[in-house]
Symmetry: C2
Subunit: 480 residues, 2 copies
C-alpha cells in the first residue's frame, strides 16, 4: 500500500508516461549535443545536465507503483525501455517483470545477466516464481530452486504442474488459517501478532488438524461478533470451494456470480491447498479475453508494438497462410465456372456480394452461439430449436436483402433472370451460413475445442466457396 | 452468504440446470397426459403428480443462489422460463432481475403487472434501482420514486444522471464511514453494533465533519492494530480516489493495476459520495468485453437465444445493410473493369484472393493497434514509427505471399505477366491494408470514437474495393 502514496487520481497514469517521455527526450537531446561538441569543458557540463535528467527520472520512477512502471515500459520503444528499466531499483524488478506483457518481459529478461535474474527471482513468492519460470533461462531457474526451502520447492513444483488456465495455476499460498475450536478472542490476538495480513484477506480459512477445510471466517463477521464465541459458532460452514484442476474460467464465473473476493482451493480429500483471489481472477479474465480477440484476428500472441518487422511477421504468418488456402479454394471454384463468366461477365461483378453477405451473416450467427455456449446456455434439446430459428432468420434476410439485390441486379443489367438468380443465390447462401453457423460451434463444442477460435475462418471459407458455387452454378443452369 | 449454503462446488451449476430441465420435462409430459385423458379421476391423479413436480422444482429453486436462478432462466425457452420465474419467491425477484441479461429481463418484466413490479422495485437499494430503471414502465418507476425517502430520491437522481460507462453509474452507497479523531476501540464498538458489514467492505472510509475524504482504514489494518490508537494514526492517508465522471474503463484498469477490492468515489470538493467495489468492476469488464465482441460481429445487443426470428432480424439488419453497401461499391469497381475480365477471365478467379488476404492482414494490424490504444501504449511520437513498421511487415508479406501466388497464377494460367501483376497487386493491397490499418484507428482515436467498433468493416471496405481496383487496374494496364 505504501507504494500508492503518490497515486491519488487515475488520470496521473498518462501524465507519468508523458513526464518520463519528456525526460527521455531531453536526455536524448543532450546526448546529441554532447556527441556534436568538442570542447571538453562544455562536454562535462552537458554530461552533468544529462545526469540531472536521469536523476530526476529515477526519482520519478521510484515514486511510481510497479504496475505503473510496467505500463510506462510497455509504451516505450526498445532503447528507451531498457534505459528506464536499468534506472528502476533492483528490488522492484521482480514485481515489475510480473506485471509487464509476455512480449515486453522477454526484451527485459534478455537485457539482464544470470546473476541479476537469480537475485530478482529470489525476491518472489513461489506462486509468482511459477508465473515467471517459463521465461527464465534454465540455469537461472535451477540456481533459484536451490535456494528454496523444501516446502517452497514442493509449492513451486505443484504450481508448475498445473495446466495453464486451471485454478491451480492461478492460486497463491498466502492464506491465514485458524482452527475451529479456538475463540475469536484468540484469533484476534493471533492476527495482532502478524504485522499485516496478506493482500485480499477478506476471510480466514478454518481447518482441522488434518488441514481439512471446515469453513471460512470472514473478517467482516469476526469484527462484528462477540469475541467470547468459538470460531466454529461464527464461521460460514459451507462456502464456495475450488479444486486446483477446476478451469479458471469456471472459477471466474463463480467469482462473478457470487461476488467473491477470495475462495479456498482444496484437494480431493478436502484439505486446504491454497486460495484464489479476485485480483488473479480479474487478471485472468482480462488476459483470456484479450487472447481470444488476438486469436480471432490470427495473431498468435500479444505483440510488443515496437517489435522488429520479422517478429511481427512470424506472429502473423500462420493465419495468412490458412486464409490463403481457403481463398485459393474459392478461387478454384470460380475457375470452374470461367466459361459462364466469359459469356455473362456481370457474374464476376455480382458474385462477391453473395459471398460477402453470407460471410457476415454467418459470423453473426456464430458469435451469438459461441457466446451462448460459453455461458453454458445451450443444452442438448435446444440445438434443433436454435437451428430452425437461425434458418428462419436466414430466410427472412434472403427475402429482404436478396430481393433488394435482385432488383438492383435487374436495374443494372436489365436482365430479369439474372435478378432472380441473384435473389435465390443470396437466400441459399444465407441458409448455408445459418447451417454452418450452428454446425461449426456445435462440432467444436462436441470435440472439446474452444469454439471462439478459428470458427470465423471456417465459416467464411464455407460462405465464400459456397456462395461462389451456388451463384455461378445457378447462373450456369438458368442463364448461360 | 446464507444463500450460498448449498453451493459447494462450481460443477453444481450445470447439474442444477439439468435438474430443472428434467423436472420441467416431466411436468410437460404429465400435462400432455392430462390433456389426452378423459376420466376425471385419472385427471385428478395426474394433476396431483404434476403439482408434486412443481413443488419439487420450487424447493430446488429456493435453494439456489439468485445468480444461479438467473443462469437457469437465461438457458430456458420462453414458456419454461416464465413457468420457473413464477415459481421463484417474490422477494428474490429483484435480485434475479438484476442478474439476468437485458434481453431476458425484458421478457420477464413483460410477464408481470405493475403491482408486482412496484413491489419488486421497492426491495432494491437505490443504486440497484437505477440499474433497473431503464427497463421499468414509467408509471411503475413513478410509483416507486414516491415511496423513497428524500435522501434515497437524491441518490437515485444522481445515479440516473451519470452516463453509462462512468464510475458514477457503477458505484453504490453502502460504505461504512468513520471519523479520524476517534480511537480504533470506538470504531470496533461502532462496527459491533451493526449486524453485518456491507458486502466487499475491505476498508472503512475516514471523513471529516464536511464528509471530505481523509483516508481509508483497511479492516486488515484495523484488526492488527492497537485499539488505543486514533484512526488518524492508523489510516492510509492517500489511497486511490475515483470521481463519478471517471470512465469505468479507467477505474477498471486502476482496480486491476492496484489490486483493489473497493475504492472511494469523491466529488470535485473531495467529499465522499459513494464507493466502487470489485464485483461491479468485474461485471463491467465482462459486459463491456462481451458488448465489444457482439458489436464487432454487428449484433446491436445481446440476443436472447430463444428470441423470435423477427427480434433477431431487427438486431442484425443494420450491419448487413452496411456490408451490403460496401459490397455493392466493390461490385461496381469490378463492373468498371468488365471489359478486361471479358478478355481475360482468369482475372475473375484471382481477384478475390487479392482482396481477401488484404482484408485479413489489415484486420491483424488493426486488432493489434486497437489493443495498444486501449492500453494507452501508443503516444503521439510513436505513430510514425508504428506506420513504418506495419508497412515493413506488409512488404515482407507481399514478397512472401504475393510471390507465392504469382507463381501459382503463372502455373495455372501459363502467363508470366499475369503472375507478375498478381504479385504486385498483392503487395500494393497489403501496403494499403497496413496504411488503413494504422490510419483508421488513428482517426477514430483522434475524433474520440471507440476504435474497437466498426474498424473491421471500414478496413475490409478499403481492402475489397482497393484490392479489386489495384488488381484489375494493373491487369488492364499491362495485360489486356
Amino acid at each position: 500500500m505504501e507504494e500508492l502514496a503518490t497515486r491519488l487520481e487515475i488520470e496521473d497514469l498518462q501524465e507519468n508516461l508523458e513526464a518520463v517521455q519528456g525526460l527521455l527526450a531531453r536526455h536524448k537531446q543532450v546526448e546529441g549535443l554532447v556527441a556534436r561538441q568538442e570542447s571538453p569543458r562544455r562536454e562535462l557540463m552537458e554530461q552533468l545536465v544529462q545526469k540531472l535528467h536521469l536523476v530526476e527520472l529515477r526519482t520519478r520512477l521510484d515514486k511510481l507503483h510497479s504496475a505503473d512502471i510496467a505500463y510506462v515500459l510497455e509504451a516505450l520503444p526498445l532503447n528507451e525501455r531498457l534505459l528506464v528499466w536499468h534506472l528502476v531499483k533492483a528490488e522492484r524488478d521482480g514485481e515489475i517483470l510480473l506485471e509487464v506483457s509476455d512480449a515486453v518481459r522477454e526484451t527485459l529478461i534478455a537485457s539482464m545477466d544470470s546473476d541479476e535474474l537469480v537475485a530478482i527471482a529470489e525476491t518472489l513468492e513461489t506462486d509468482e516464481l511459477a508465473d515467471l519460470a517459463p521465461d527464465l533461462p534454465k540455469e537461472v531457474l535451477a540456481d533459484v530452486v536451490q535456494s528454496l526451502t523444501a516446502e517452497e520447492r514442493a509449492q513451486l513444483r505443484a504450481a508448475l504442474s498445473f495446466e495453464e488456465g486451471s485454478v491451480g495455476a492461478l492460486m497463491d499460498f498466502d492464506m491465514v488459517t485458524v482452527r475451529d475450536d479456538v475463540t475469536l478472542e484468540a484469533v484476534t490476538r493471533y492476527l495482532r501478532r502478524m504485522e499485516e495480513l496478506p493482500d485480499h484477506t477478506d476471510q480466514l480459512f478454518v481447518i482441522d488438524r488434518a488441514r481439512k477445510l471446515l469453513g471460512t471466517l470472514p473478517l467482516a463477521r469476526l469484527i462484528v461478533s462477540d469475541l467470547e464465541l468459538d470460531v466454529s459458532r461464527v464461521m460460514v460452514p459451507e462456502a464456495v470451494k475450488l479444486h486446483p484442476d477446476d478451469s479458471a474460467q469456471d472459477a471466474a464465473s463463480a467469482f462473478e456470480r457470487y461476488d467473491l473476493v477470495s475462495a479456498p482451493v482444496v484437494d480431493a480429500f478436502g484439505a486446504l491447498v491454497g486460495r484464489l483471489t479476485v485480483n488473479s481472477v480479474v487478471d485472468h479474465i482480462q488476459e483470456s479475453s484479450s487472447e481470444t480477440r488476438l486469436a480471432e484476428a490470427g495473431l498468435r500472441e500479444e505483440e510488443d508494438i515496437f517489435a522488429p518487422v520479422w517478429n511481427s511477421f512470424k506472429n502473423r504468418w500462420a493465419w495468412l497462410a490458412i486464409n490463403l488456402v481457403t481463398a485459393f479454394i474459392a478461387s478454384r471454384v470460380i475457375g470452374a465456372f470461367e466459361g459462364s463468366i466469359e459469356k455473362l461477365v456481370a457474374l464476376a461483378a455480382l458474385m462477391p456480394i453473395v459471398a460477402g453477405i453470407g460471410g457476415n451473416s454467418g459470423n453473426q450467427t456464430i458469435t451469438m452461439i459461441v457466446r451462448a455456449i460459453a455461458l453454458g446456455q445451450i443444452q442438448g434439446p435446444y440445438w434443433r430449436k436454435l437451428l430452425s430459428k437461425e434458418i428462419g432468420v436466414a430466410l427472412l434476410n434472403g427475402l429482404v436483402w436478396g430481393g433488394l439485390l435482385g432488383v438492383i441486379a435487374f436495374v443494372l443489367y436489365s436482365n430479369v433472370a439474372l435478378g432472380a438468380v441473384m435473389t435465390l443465390a443470396m437466400t441459399l447462401n444465407l441458409v448455408l451460413a445459418a447451417l454452418m453457423g450452428v454446425a461449426v460451434p456445435y462440432m467444436q463444442a462436441r470435440f472439446g475445442k474452444d469454439p471462439a477460435v478459428g470458427s470465423s475462418v471456417i465459416i467464411t471459407a464455407f460462405t465464400d466457396s459456397g456462395g461462389f458455387f451456388i451463384f455461378l452454378g445457378l447462373a450456369t443452369l438458368f442463364l448461360v
